[in-house]
Symmetry: C2
DNA sequence: CGTACTTTTGAATCGCATCAAATCTGGTGG
DNA sequence: CCACCAGATTTGATGCGATTCAAAAGTACG
């Protein structure tokens, strides 16, 4: 796959230095694949391009504890600093995957100041986004979560969804039925303006 | 306040180089204080030592959107890379605050490789923790959240709470009543062993 | 000893998840 | 072009579980 194509889905990749690109593998993954298991030596830093990967830990009673679900972006960034993984990585949906050799990645961070700054910026923005999402998920009402989403992630009190509403519902921690119903109710009340994929707060 | 004391509450601070320490101010804050407002020029990178600070955005109808609640640790790390703040910071509970000059902080990251690596590790671990918390908050049942917490944050399927259960309830996105009741139920069912502040999964 | 806070238990209410089913949509191949 | 299919979207009915309000008992601390 061409880097130009990759960059479109993950703008961060534009800043990966040439030397590191050459050491990076791009490979397909199939649903059910296991990228790594807990305790495995860290051989790659993964970046999901398409498809879905889950980081999980298997609990005492066969329970499955999901630590991260990724449909794009880096997986387990903290593994850059450790020798072994602390969870399993399972592929939920077939797709494409970038595999960075951790040593080369660390070298690039060490030697290439602009790349390093972009990386730190990426991490800091991810932290910001996740903190806002945690606060949002702590809210009780469906309407409150929707409004919180628009006010924290939107631009000028409006968002343009780049995913089906069903997926948005999951991001909001709601059933899709509740999301549809609440959107309609807020629209009827005149609190929200809904134009296809564009949703904006009124006044 | 002595650095030695600060380090006990925030181990990361042990790695702050001397030059940066000298440029850092430690000051008291009172409930109601405003650390910065949206649009303000970034003058400090804040680290909460004690007390509580909230990052908020004020919505269109006087609604208050909480982006982060911090009772220890850095505030708005992403502000390191931007000129102005994108939210307000309000003090909820009086306490102590470290104020790093952003330029000196960036210089330290640039020049001091070990410090920089500790910082990147801190960000990566924060990302990991927050992603797990988001997955946890997406779970419906109180019991599921409690078990997820122990399996993801605990050591050997056990956690030792360093905060009152009421605060734990808030972190789990539950009312404290529900947390108490569910803990008792899980204990009665033999799924959980509860010894004061130590809570462990059975089997 | 008193005050503030946490922990605990009870009862009533409400909102969301769930199950079910119909409609709509975009994309595929005949 | 139409038939068809897999998803997404929409609406309805039901039950459960969490929130909420209330109040009592326990605990830490000055």
């Amino acid at each position: 796959m061409e880097w130009q194509t990759l960059i479109e889905s993950q703008p961060f990749l534009a800043h990966v230095p040439l030397r590191l690109r050459k050491a990076t593998e791009c490979r397909k993954m199939l649903a059910g694949d296991v990228l790594f298991r807990i305790g495995d030596h860290v051989r790659s830093l993964f970046c999901v391009v398409t498809g879905e990967v889950q980081l999980v830990r298997h609990g005492v009673r066969g329970t499955k504890i999901v630590l991260q679900r990724s449909r794009g972006g880096f997986l387990a960034e903290a593994s850059l600093g450790s020798k072994a993984y602390h969870c399993d990585a399972e592929v939920n949906e077939a797709g494409m995957l970038l595999c960075f050799p951790p040593a080369a990645f660390r070298t690039a961070l060490e030697d290439d100041a602009p790349f390093r700054n972009v990386w730190m910026g990426l991490l800091a923005r991810e932290v910001r986004k996740l903190r806002a999402q945690c606060e949002r998920l702590s809210l009780n009402g469906a309407a409150e979560r929707i409004i919180h989403y628009i006010e924290s992630e939107g631009i000028n009190n409006a968002v343009t969804l780049n995913q089906p509403r069903k997926a948005w519902a999951s991001e909001l921690g709601l059933s899709h039925e509740t999301l549809y119903r609440t959107l309609k109710r807020l629209g009827d009340q005149g609190l929200l303006r809904i134009n296809g994929k564009r949703i904006s707060l009124v006044r």
